[in-house]
Symmetry: C2
Subunit: 393 residues, 2 copies
């Protein structure tokens, strides 16, 4: 269960023929009534037409439906592409019976080509007819591109927020970076939350989850995370109420669960690498350090080969622009010390053995304070090169 | 002819046994008399011991000798590594008969391990005995790491600077980035130039050549470019003299020649890619745009596969932080239009064919002004991953 785990939402996923391979490519998520909503979008200056439309649609804090397609990003498509996104929203509006400005649109796929609009619009009609309270997985499947598995997560809250469910779906795979990944995510909840509070909770959750995934440093033109709240649980959640911290934590868990799935399924990756910086002067420094290390192509190659080449960690740290003392830095690879006080430490063979598992945690202690942050990335592999050499063909 | 092309310099390269494969690994460049000198070093905050020593040595604008070794970077080696660099300079001082503070040291290889000092010091003695006016190529060979060919360049100036020769050597291969590559370069000239003017000329040349090579975004801890002037031609070169512009141009040609060789021989690369930004508001904007595009792993994969995926160029531009209008951008691949006014243009099959050659120029017109800049990079290949997965083993 995912985007339909919370009460008050239906979803569907259909084959609209946008992708040439005959796989599902159009998803619809619809709230039973207009829902409170919030959104976070790519910070790339080049923004796809659906991103611009959805940013505007969610600006009043309300949404009724979200339509998503894979098979084409509708980015760098000019005025015609903008009109295509508007037409998609209008078709959903007609099919669902809601104002067009309560419809968000999200697209993913190749940049620079127009969407096949006849198929899009027919697909929207078919998806509206297929909507159901168990349609979450079908929707999650229809937004996959080079993803190999569909991504879903949900939690049921306890304590003061008992009765509230939060669930979501996401797609990722390539172009996963700085702020958000090439990713579309829709999260729903049946909590009763004002849209301003939803926005605040979503920004907090995204900053510590999706924003800390950095697979290849490439930020997409289409990144979109939407959160809709139906209020159907009857549980009021607002800052200052006992339910608020539980809600924020639960939302973080769903986003974190989806973010982890994105990294696990990143294009061509053979390892999931957590760059954990501790002893940072502040959280901002810790994030900058972790992100800088996560972007080192040379380090990512070394980890791929289980090579305990810790010098590449220090060299990457030195280019991040953060203020730190290189001679104070300790580094461990899955707990094995490799560097202490800026020089070699531990047993290289033990460090090599520690790099064998699929999950690798590189812990960097800056000894500059008490803040910490973790950025998730992957190794760099020949398969990544292969997948991305032939994507548009 | 390279670092010994100019009069007044001798060089040598020997097998000191620092590398385990028995290849030459120690080079010496010595001026007949104390020379005017300038240096440019890595901007990585983590600086190898030889970088710190050489920065200090050149700070008085004078050098007599440069000793360089491959097989170990002497970086992240603490106080012991610093003492090793001092011992190398002292050994050269004794062998050549000059003050130790007139000796620069440069090292390249794996980070984090101590140099085998007994072999280093014996090698310095052997290299001093082998010094000769035709030793440039032997020196250039001894500084290679994963380089497949040695890199040399020289020019003989004409006009007002007739009689002046400028020559140099470099090593590169991996970790080529933001500012300088993992590169060591020594350039010599027989012009008579004051050290302050040498410094100015070198910074100008480096900023437009080595600094615009960006193979993998990874900046080394050891980058070093040194320039020595023997005055042996008797031609006085100073700002305001007719010879000055010829000298600056000639120095730029030698640095550019070496930088191009670095890119041509970058680890695992199958294509040399020039990212040429025109129509920039200013040179700084053009450089930032070109560098941002040069760092897109996704674009580098696409070019590897001769895939005319221009959307990745626009997506990368959008993350650079420069102010530009995405809907004004034109892009060509080796002259074939692929994007005009921010949307698709031209014939994709013609663009694919245009990407077949080893040399690819991606021209991006921002239509924001009259400035331009070019950054050189390479494609991203499975071979890069392979070479960098097993480098330290």
């Amino acid at each position: 269960m995912s985007v339909t785990a919370a009460r008050g939402f239906r979803a569907s996923g259909v084959v609209a023929g946008i992708k040439s391979n005959g796989r599902p490519d159009l998803a619809l998520v619809v709230a039973d009534r207009t829902a409170a909503a919030a959104g976070v979008f790519t910070r790339n200056q080049v923004q796809a037409a659906p991103v611009r439309l959805s940013r505007e649609a969610v600006s009043d804090g309300r949404l009724r439906a979200v339509v998503l397609n894979s098979g084409g990003a509708n980015a760098c498509t000019g005025a015609a592409g903008a009109a295509d996104a508007v037409a998609m929203a209008a078709a959903v509006s007609a099919a669902v019976g809601c104002p067009a400005h309560d419809v968000a649109v999200a697209s993913t796929g190749l940049i620079g080509t127009r969407l096949p609009m006849r198929r899009e619009l027919a697909g929207i009609g078919a998806a509206a007819g297929a909507l159901g309270p168990a349609g979450g997985t079908a929707a999650a499947t229809a937004i996959m591109t080079t993803d190999t598995v569909c991504k879903e997560a949900s939690v049921q809250l306890a304590g003061a927020a008992a009765g509230v469910t939060i669930g979501g779906m996401a797609k990722g795979a390539g172009m996963l970076a700085p702020a958000l990944a090439t990713m579309l995510a829709v999260v729903t909840t049946d909590a009763d939350v004002a849209s301003a509070d939803l926005d605040r909770a979503l920004r907090t959750a995204v900053a510590r989850t999706f924003d800390r995934v950095d697979v290849d440093g490439c930020m997409s033109t289409n990144d979109t995370v939407l959160l809709l709240a139906s209020a159907r649980s009857g549980v009021i959640v607002a800052p200052g109420t006992p339910a608020w911290p539980d809600f924020v934590t639960g939302l973080g868990e769903v986003c974190s669960g989806l973010a982890n799935q994105l990294v696990d399924d990143a294009e061509g990756a053979s390892k999931r690498i957590a760059i954990k910086v501790v002893g940072g002067a502040d959280e901002e420094q810790a994030v900058a350090a972790a992100r800088g290390v996560a972007r080192s192509a040379l380090l990512k190659c070394a980890i791929h080969g289980a090579d305990p080449n810790w010098g590449r960690v220090l060299a990457a740290l030195g280019t991040t622009g953060i203020a730190f003392d290189p001679e104070a830095v300790d580094i461990t690879f899955n707990g094995e010390p490799v560097c202490a006080g800026g020089v070699a430490a531990g047993d290289p063979e033990a460090a090599r053995a520690a790099l064998a598992p699929r999950e690798v945690t590189i812990t960097i202690d800056l000894h500059a304070g008490a803040s910490h942050a973790t950025v998730l990335t992957t190794d760099l592999t020949a398969e990544y090169v292969h997948e991305n050499s032939a994507y548009s063909t």
